[in-house]
């Protein structure tokens, strides 16, 4: 059984808290400290971003994070080293990568997956790799033999037929994109969010976690009433952006924010 599946099966939470941040912003060693802090303060799953030069699904906050990260010289060795250090700190928490497909393809799918698995990664989210491509099928197969998950995105624009088809090559959980557009904090969510998530739950037998736009404890609390998990990226990245030059300040701000969100969805 995949690590993510057993986590949701054991359900020690009402709704899983899934924070995201970009590795390497402002540098790789600080990322290790940020990762540890987030794990210590109540992440159920942690999404680590591998920076890609052209993140078309991301809004300004994450774009800037990626740009700062890429000012350090990028290398997969660094990515895997940092991942392993975060994993070793709290090995029971599942780690997943969020990245675009080009770096993975370039590294070579099997080589990438072997090294990711060794570093403690148990799943992938790839916003520009639709499920109905030959590459996605290959990836799903390769992940499966390694007991890792392929987490697909579903959006308010996805039609039922597509959602049903996507279920066949999805595992772990479904990343439900709450709103149109790109990542970034939002004040309001579409009114039918609850209905959409209920519909998804009936259509796919996987946990449905909601992301894109969530930032406040109130929003998290509200959405946790019906979603199996809450994904937060930009709000966390903003904390890093605002305090990035001062590692200990980031660490204490992150600890505070993460624990607030965790409490709000318990």
């Amino acid at each position: 059984m995949s690590k993510i599946k057993s986590l949701f099966d054991s359900a020690k939470f009402k709704s899983a808290f899934i924070p995201y941040f970009t590795l390497g912003d402002p540098n790789y060693n600080d990322s290790i400290e940020f990762g540890k802090t987030i794990l210590d303060n109540g992440a159920d799953i942690l999404e680590l971003g591998i920076p890609f030069s052209d993140p078309v699904a991301d809004g300004p906050v994450i774009q800037r994070a990626v740009a700062r990260s890429l000012k350090n010289s990028f290398s997969f060795d660094e990515i895997f080293r940092v991942t392993k250090a975060i994993h070793d700190h709290k090995p029971e928490t599942p780690l997943v990568y969020l990245t675009y497909f080009n770096p993975i393809y370039h590294c070579g799918i099997t080589k990438f997956l072997d090294r990711a698995k060794e570093s403690g990664i148990v799943g992938l989210v790839i916003p520009d790799l639709p499920f109905d491509t030959a590459e996605s099928e290959t990836l799903f197969r390769e992940l499966k033999v390694r007991d890792m998950d392929l987490i697909h995105l579903v959006t308010p624009a996805s039609e039922k037929k597509r959602i049903q088809a996507l279920a066949k090559t999805s595992s772990g959980f479904i990343y439900y994109v709450t709103s149109f557009g790109v990542t970034g904090e939002r004040r309001e969510f579409s009114l039918d969010l609850k209905e959409r998530i209920r519909f998804l739950k009936e259509t796919i037998q996987l946990p449905i976690c909601a992301g894109f736009g969530i930032s406040t404890p109130d929003q998290a609390n509200q959405i946790s009433q019906y979603a199996d998990g809450i994904i937060i990226g930009s709000a966390i990245q903003r904390i890093i952006e605002e305090n990035g030059s001062d590692r200990s300040k980031v660490v204490s701000a992150l600890a505070d924010y993460i624990s607030k969100i965790r409490t709000s969805i318990s």
């Binding site: 030069s53 052209d54 699904a57 740009a67 370039h106 030959a134 959006t155 994109v177 790109v182």
Partner: protein
């Protein structure tokens, strides 16, 4: 969408864009399939191409250039004489009609040299559609005349400051806008790039260039030309020129891409020479990237060629060897820009000047009594200030 279905050119192409865009791309695909067969759509498109764009564009025999170069006879397919001064309008009109048919009232576009932005702003004005153009802040500077024209036409320019602030970033930003406004907006992609069905739609809309050139040339010469040449940024004027000739094996086909300042990463936009297979802006194609799959910033003296990717059909034509893609440096393009202006009385776009350079070599290799057609993709008005600046630097 399997690997061998339409949307792929060999292994290249496909649809690798965020899930939020999929429904819109499927709607676009099915609408286009319908419209392609519709007599009404064809008539409407032909109407605007003839009465608004000014098609057919002439095929000009370049007598002085032919003599000067001393090789094959040179013919110019005059896309520079289209309304707005380049081939981009062929595509913008077609896609605006498709958008109108889908009931979308807002159109957006990305632009490098500003020619596609200008074409989109023009059709936006003509059809009364809200128009937004994303343009890299650097390009707003170096193509300022076009930026000003776009605004004068009532469109909004949104300068993009991320990254290198050129065409790549403008394209990413247009994709983000589309993701947010996908139900009301059509994204008029400006080159034969992007997720399926864009490379096919753009190619079909630009194919008029090659079709006309072929029949004009045949009518006058009762044969086919020996060679054709076009410049390749994303590849829309080139694929439009090439398409009608691909099956004519006796016609040699050449693409000119931007060799920039030299062969080092970051100095050029020579995707077909230095690119490796990868995924960018929704398509699988050749891309200039580093050893980790990060996209390397492109460079070219011409903003319209300054893009690290290329249309997937070109990647395929390069792989099969049907088209010979060659690099032209900034300096060579600049020299051709001046040479063609003085000898033939036509100021070409800096993009097109790249094609002229390749054409000169090919014409000499072919020798006399052979014929070569160059796609004169656009006129050089927009480049005058930039060229003067470059000449000033050169004389220092």
């Amino acid at each position: 969408m399997g690997k061998n279905l339409p949307g792929y050119f060999g292994e290249f192409g496909g649809r690798y864009s965020p899930e939020i865009l999929t429904e819109a791309l499927e709607e676009l695909e099915s609408t286009y399939q319908k419209l392609k067969k519709s007599k009404k759509f064809k008539k409407e498109l032909e109407y605007y191409l003839r009465n608004y764009v000014g098609r057919p564009s002439p095929l000009t025999y370049a007598e002085r250039l032919t003599k000067h170069w001393g090789g094959a006879r040179i013919w110019l397919k005059r896309e520079d004489l289209n309304h707005t001064g380049a081939h981009k309008i062929n595509n913008a009109i077609g896609q605006a009609l498709i958008a109108r048919f889908m009931g979308k009232k807002r159109i957006i576009a990305e632009t490098g040299a500003g020619q596609h932005g200008l074409a989109t702003a023009t059709v936006g004005a003509m059809f009364g559609m809200e128009t937004v153009v994303y343009m890299g802040a650097v390009d707003v500077q170096r193509q300022n005349l076009n930026a000003k024209k776009i605004e004068m036409l009532g469109a909004k320019i949104l300068p993009v400051t991320a990254g290198e602030a050129t065409l790549k970033e403008a394209t990413s930003e247009a994709m983000r806008d589309w993701a947010l406004n996908v139900s009301t907006t059509h994204y008029i992609v400006g080159s034969a790039i992007g997720p399926h069905p864009f490379p096919t739609i753009v190619r079909d809309l630009q194919a008029v260039i090659g079709k006309e050139a072929k029949s004009q040339f045949k009518k006058e010469n009762k044969k086919l030309p020996s060679a054709i040449v076009a410049c390749v940024g994303g590849g829309s004027n080139a694929i439009g020129m090439f398409h009608a000739f691909l099956k004519d094996k006796q016609v040699a086909i050449y693409g000119a891409e931007a060799g920039g300042l030299g062969p080092k990463p970051g100095e050029h936009s020579a995707t077909l020479t230095y690119g490796k297979t990868g995924f960018l802006h929704g398509t699988k194609t050749l891309i200039i990237q580093d050893e980790f799959g990060q996209i390397v910033p492109a460079h070219s003296v011409s903003a319209g060629l300054d893009y690290p990717g290329v249309g997937p059909e070109h990647a395929f034509l390069s792989q099969t060897g049907r088209v010979d893609y060659r690099m032209v440096t900034d300096e060579q393009a600049l020299d051709c820009f001046l040479e063609v202006s003085r000898i033939e009385g036509i100021i070409p776009a800096l993009e097109t000047a790249h094609a002229f350079h390749v054409a000169r070599d090919v014409a000499r290799d072919l020798g006399k009594k052979k014929d070569l057609i160059i796609c004169l993709s656009g006129r050089g008005d927009k480049d005058v200030t930039e060229v003067l600046r470059l000449l000033g630097e050169r004389s220092k």
